[in-house]
């Protein structure tokens, strides 16, 4: 059996890679990809804890399913926003989208 620690370190590393993408990338779609990596890392943690601690209670898997739904909603709204911004400004670089800055 895989030790629980391997899974947790794997998820932590994946989360930090996603965090780096979110903080460092310029392109807004690349930032969304970083968020996807972070959500996946969280899901790996949830499923790992479900399997290793309470496999008879399905709460961990239910939580992962809810995260799936939230991720789908977030991507749909986020990409719609970027397409709308691109239509007006011809760019989706995160540092050039400053219409809401006063």
């Amino acid at each position: 059996m895989i030790p629980l620690s391997w899974l947790l370190f794997f998820a932590a590393a994946l989360f930090c890679i996603g965090l780096y993408g979110v903080l460092a990338r310029k392109n807004a779609i690349a930032i969304l990809m970083g968020i996807e990596l972070m959500l996946n890392a969280v899901n790996v943690n949830l499923v790992a804890f479900w399997r290793y601690r309470t496999p008879e209670i399905m709460a961990g898997q239910v939580f992962a399913v809810i995260v799936f739904a939230v991720a789908a909603a977030e991507v749909a709204v986020g990409l719609a926003l970027f397409i709308s911004v691109y239509r007006r400004r011809k760019t989706i670089a995160a540092d050039e989208i400053d219409m809401m800055k006063w």
Partner: protein, 169 residues
């Protein structure tokens, strides 16, 4: 080492490498393709954890819908996939520091936690996890409220995405 552990190490290395390529690739389409590989690696991890239903959902929703939606968005916003400018913002070194510090802190906290050596209890063959998950999602003593809230959220996101992306001209 058991074969399962070797498979996990290979899959984890593939997923982390693909994740690194996602955040560093210059071409955005390549980023999206590496993202598909990383998501597939996570699906394999779900299989190793005996969460087969989640692995299928991962492939169908993440790879089949989210990654393809991202590729569509990249193609709809022309000229951004191969931008010549820098792909990182100017304070990327701070981002690197924050990510490394967070990983170090997480690793330190995890290694000091006594539950990390937990052994996975065996799942009896009569315990059907997919059936139990379905029951938990719709039973009133389970998570039916969260399930319904998630469906309302998806409907709101559907309408919101339509309204935002509508071309009013």
């Amino acid at each position: 080492m058991t074969p399962l552990q070797i498979i996990f190490i290979l899959v984890a290395a593939m997923t982390l490498g693909a994740g690194l390529m996602v955040v560093t690739a210059r071409n955005l389409v390549h980023s999206a393709l590496w993202l598909i590989l990383a998501l597939f690696g996570v699906a394999i991890v779900y299989v190793l954890l005996q969460a087969g239903f989640l692995a299928v959902v991962q492939v169908v929703i993440y790879i089949g819908a989210i990654a393809i939606l991202m590729i569509f968005a990249i193609m709809l916003t022309r000229n951004i996939a191969t931008e010549s400018g820098p792909r990182f913002s100017e304070n990327w070194s701070w981002a690197l520091v924050i990510a490394l510090v967070l990983f170090g802190t997480l690793a330190w906290m995890l290694s000091g936690w006594e539950g990390i050596a937990a052994q996975a209890p065996a799942i009896s063959p009569r315990f059907d996890t997919v059936r139990e998950l379905g029951l938990a999602l719709v039973s009133p003593d389970g998570f039916v409220l969260a399930f319904e809230v998630a469906s309302v959220l998806l409907l709101a996101a559907l309408i919101g995405a339509l309204v935002i992306a509508w071309d009013r001209r």
